[in-house]
Amino acid sequence: MAENKVKKVAVNTKINGEEMDILVDPYVSLLETLREVVGITGTKEGCNDGNCGACTVNLDGRIVDSCLVLGVEVEGKNIETVEGMATPDGLHPLQQAFLEEAALQCGICTPGFLVSAKALLDNEPDPSEERIRHWLAGNLCRCTGYDKIVKAVSKASKESK
């Protein structure tokens, strides 16, 4: 259908430190861009309307629900996803703590929690339990009851000091 023919937009962006040029339909979310255009699927879709946090990514130092950002909006920006957390030398302390504390069951919400929690610890190295719960209020987990997630974030904050 001719009226649906919308031109793709060239976007230059940096994802997990790697600069790239991508072609994005102007109506497509950053979440879909990451998953379908860039081809990294660690960022998950749980609701596609900004209420579950499974698609959380770090955009220029701020955490956002990538389903609520358009792919064309990330021109010139720095995006960090769960795939960028571990280095060739090993896991990020949060990833290690999530494993040791059994802070995941099914694991679908885990990437979003890790990206959110990293943004917290990047700015506040020693958050209280209340602060962690408040910070993670935008990430839904249906399996754990949050107990072990909160403990893992607290443990990682102590160990990365």
């Binding site: 998950k44 896991l91 679908i108």
Partner: protein, 757 residues
């Protein structure tokens, strides 16, 4: 941890290794249902009914078919029409006809969101646009959306062709798909002799399992009429079974590869999109992937049944229960099966009741077809029973734990459906609750003006199913073991299964590498559900490991040319009992073993795992002005049999408690009278967030099950049973109000407080 078993000196069991699939899951590498991408793949989308109850007069797909980028359109005309044959399959039952109609409506839509057509297109956007161009002419009918409406005289009937079973009588033109009755002893006599009789009726709203990963289905239908399916499911073999039935293919023509699963809680046992993707693939000869939105998930999958439960209990002057009656009406949704047998098994399961009668009704309503939700039907009936018990204690001044201990179900107690309990651990849980710091602590009932605090306690039960599981083991040349299994891993079961094989073999948990494989690569394995996986698949792993040791000994005997009975195996070493020179590590025996590689396999088909009980204590703080309720302390106590990986057992207890807290305080399908769910998003269907909950303390009580070599019981389901009544009882303690409907949300609390004044 409280343990009644002697210390068995396990090396692996009871430790907390990092789960085998953990690294993939914290790095984003793990592939869930929607993550699959196949060469040439098309995207599928479906058209869903806007009406909760309507006849389909005609469907016009011509405009959609003409669109650029659309490769195929399908309706139920592309599916075989199946007869009304009863299927029996783990936690599911029902008919093939209903299974098929729930995938795609044939003549009638029975709930808002019922699928009526499907499209395959080059991308998601095109598929959505195409779906909008399909025109359906409906004759809209009046829906029934709760058990009262459905059971009313002259109610609109969902299935005119269905024959219900009402106490053995065949009944047509009724929304009651089944009425079952279970009787023990003479309740009339029991109630007559009672000193006190208390009766309550509770009203539970429909809830959703709420798993974060929406459903998806990907399929390839090849030129040989073989169908390959990739999906996120609790049971790849039940998907194979269901898909083969809906498509009328032999099971061996269907191969299901399970992706990682992003939560299920029972809701990922049914199939939805898989056969549609398969038919669209048949029409296009290309892979097709279809995915649900969150609204689709709420509108058309799940839910856990709502309904009404009336319970009446009579006690003598000493406080012994004499008689109990239950009237259970649960919503099956659009097709039969509201888990009424489970409800009957669970309703009085925590008590020794000399006479009881249970009437249970499976009621059809215009809502999505109910799926199991963690201890299906047990929380609904526990809310009624545990509220009545609390009221008895309140009237008579009994301590709620002492009353429960006085009437406790234990080994030998006769259950509602007949059999007597084998070893169970409810008594030990109640004693652990009594000795807990939480129960011994005092609660300031009026901490500040306008705030009231209260404490509630409740118990609950799930029977834990057994069924079929298969495990293969292969000894690698480096002396490590590869384990393949068919149980999809929803929360750490690769670890709990591998650990049981490692314990037998006397090697580290990390040295057994578990893989969950497709349905062509392992023997039949029933669903990850019913709290069966660590019990049944773990049992298969235990048996397979013993067989592997037999193989190792057999090969060593050939190699050394001595008889097998002169050889022993322990902790990764095979050796001669008499000649200390003859000794090999697993690596040494695995290097070129005589007669071929060392492998083993085992399968089981088990009875129920003895049953699991939980006792929960909840402290609440309630704002009298706003009705807002905060859970301030929470302790979950549970008989876990034997905790294989204690961290994941605690996780089950905490997660079940959190879901139950959400059910008690916030969650409901809020529907208008047309049967349209008005809160079908996570914003409005309010599940607990991190800020809503306190730390959930756990006390694992270990009373080993008699049915498993390590004493494993299912642990996943009991913890969702006590929270609703524990919170209801705590609200009563705080405010002197019995709220008998879920959710016990702020508006219900403030309204009840107004009425009380």
């Amino acid at each position: 941890m409280v343990s009644t078993s002697e210390n068995k000196n396990y090396k692996v069991i009871g430790t907390r290794p990092i789960r085998h699939d953990g690294y993939d899951k914290v790095t984003g590498r793990a592939q869930y249902g929607a993550d699959i991408k196949l060469p040439g793949m098309l995207i599928g989308a479906v058209l869903r009914s806007p009406y909760a109850h309507a006849k389909i007069k005609s469907i016009d797909t011509s405009e959609a078919e003409k669109m650029d980028g659309v490769f195929a359109v399908m309706t139920s005309k592309d599916l075989p029409r199946l007869g009304d044959v009863v299927r029996g399959n783990s936690e599911e039952s029902g008919s093939e006809k209903h299974l098929s109609e729930n995938v795609m409506a044939f003549d009638k839509v029975l709930y808002k969101g019922h699928v009526v057509a499907g499209v395959a297109a080059k991308d998601q956007n095109t598929a959505f646009e195409a779906v909008k161009k399909i025109k359906v002419d409906y004759e809209v009918l009046k829906p029934v959306i709760n058990v009262d409406q459905a059971m009313a005289k002259d109610a609109p009937i969902l299935h005119e062709d269905y024959t219900g079973d009402h106490l053995g009588k065949k009944v047509k033109n009724s929304n009651v798909a089944a009425h079952a009755r279970h009787e023990v002893g003479d309740i009339d006599d029991g109630f007559k002799k009672s000193d006190l009789v208390v009766e309550k009726e509770v009203d539970m709203q429909t809830v959703h399992q709420g798993y974060i990963e929406p459903h998806s289905g990907t399929a390839v239908w090849d030129e040989e009429d073989r169908v390959k399916v990739w999906t996120s499911t609790q049971g790849s073999f039940s998907v194979r079974d269901s898909v083969s039935k809906v498509l009328d293919l032999d099971v061996s023509r269907v191969k299901v590869t399970p992706m990682e699963i992003g939560g299920g809680f029972g809701g990922k046992i049914p199939i939805y999109l898989e056969p549609i993707a398969a038919v669209l693939s048949k029409k296009t000869r290309r892979p097709v992937k279809a995915m649900m939105s969150r609204t689709d998930v709420f509108d058309a999958t799940g839910p856990g049944p709502g309904g009404k439960v009336k319970v009446k209990i009579g006690i003598d002057s000493e406080g012994k229960i004499l008689a109990a009656y239950a009237d259970i009406r649960l919503e099956a949704g659009a097709y039969p099966e509201a888990f009424i047998e489970a409800a009957a098994k669970c309703v009085f399961s925590c008590y020794d009741v000399p006479s009881m009668k249970i009437d249970a009704y499976d009621v059809l309503v215009n809502k999505p077809s109910s799926a199991p939700y963690r201890a299906p039907a047990s929380p609904q009936v526990a809310f009624a029973t545990e509220t009545v018990v609390d009221e008895i204690c309140e009237i008579k001044g009994y301590d709620p734990i002492d009353f429960r201990l006085m009437n406790v179900a234990e080994k030998g107690t006769r259950t509602a459906l007949g059999p007597k309990y084998r070893t169970i651990g409810l008594k030990e849980c109640l004693e652990a609750a009594k000795n807990s710091n939480h129960w011994k602590s005092t609660l300031d009932s009026n901490p500040s003006p306008g705030k009231k605090r209260g404490r509630g306690i409740a118990s609950g039960y799930w029977f834990n199913i057994g069924f079929k599981s298969s495990v293969n083991l292969s000894l690698n040349p480096d002396g490590k073991v590869a384990l393949t299994e068919g149980s999809t891993d929803i929360g750490g079961s690769r670890a709990s299964i591998a650990m049981q094989a490692a314990e037998v073999l006397g090697i580290a948990a990390e040295d057994v590498r578990p893989s969950v494989v497709d349905t062509d690569s392992i023997g039949i394995t029933d669903v990850t559900g019913g709290s069966r996986t660590t019990y049944a698949t773990g049992y298969a792993a235990y048996n397979a490991a013993h067989k592997l040791i037999e193989e190792i000994i057999e090969k060593a005997a050939i190699k050394w040319d001595i008889s097998e009975d002169q050889i022993e195996y322990s902790d990764g070493i095979v050796k001669s009992k008499t000649d200390s020179e003859l000794k090999m590590t697993l690596k040494e025996i695995a290097d070129d073993p005589p007669g071929g590689p060392i492998v083993s396999s085992a399968s089981v088909d088990l009875e129920e795992a003895g049953g699991g009980f939980a006792v929960h204590i909840a402290d609440l703080e309630i704002d009298e002005e706003t009705g807002k309720t905060d859970v301030i302390n929470y302790t979950a106590i549970q008989d876990v049999g034997k905790a294989i990986h204690p961290s994941y057992v605690e996780g089950q207890m905490q997660g079940g408690a959190a879901q139950g807290i959400g059910w008690a305080l916030n969650e409901e399908y809020f529907m208008n009278e047309d049967g349209v769910m008005l809160n079908s998003s996570y914003l409005d269907y309010r599940m607990p967030i991190a800020l809503d909950l306190p730390m959930i303390d756990t006390i694992m009580v270990e009373v080993p099950s008699e049915e498993h070599p390590y004493g494993v019981r299912g642990v996943g389901e009991p913890p969702i049973v006590p929270p609703v009544p524990a919170i209801g009882n705590a609200i009563n303690d705080a405010l002197g109000l019995r709220l008998l409907s879920t959710p016990m949300k702020p508006s219900r609390i403030t309204e009840a407080l107004k009425r009380k004044k």
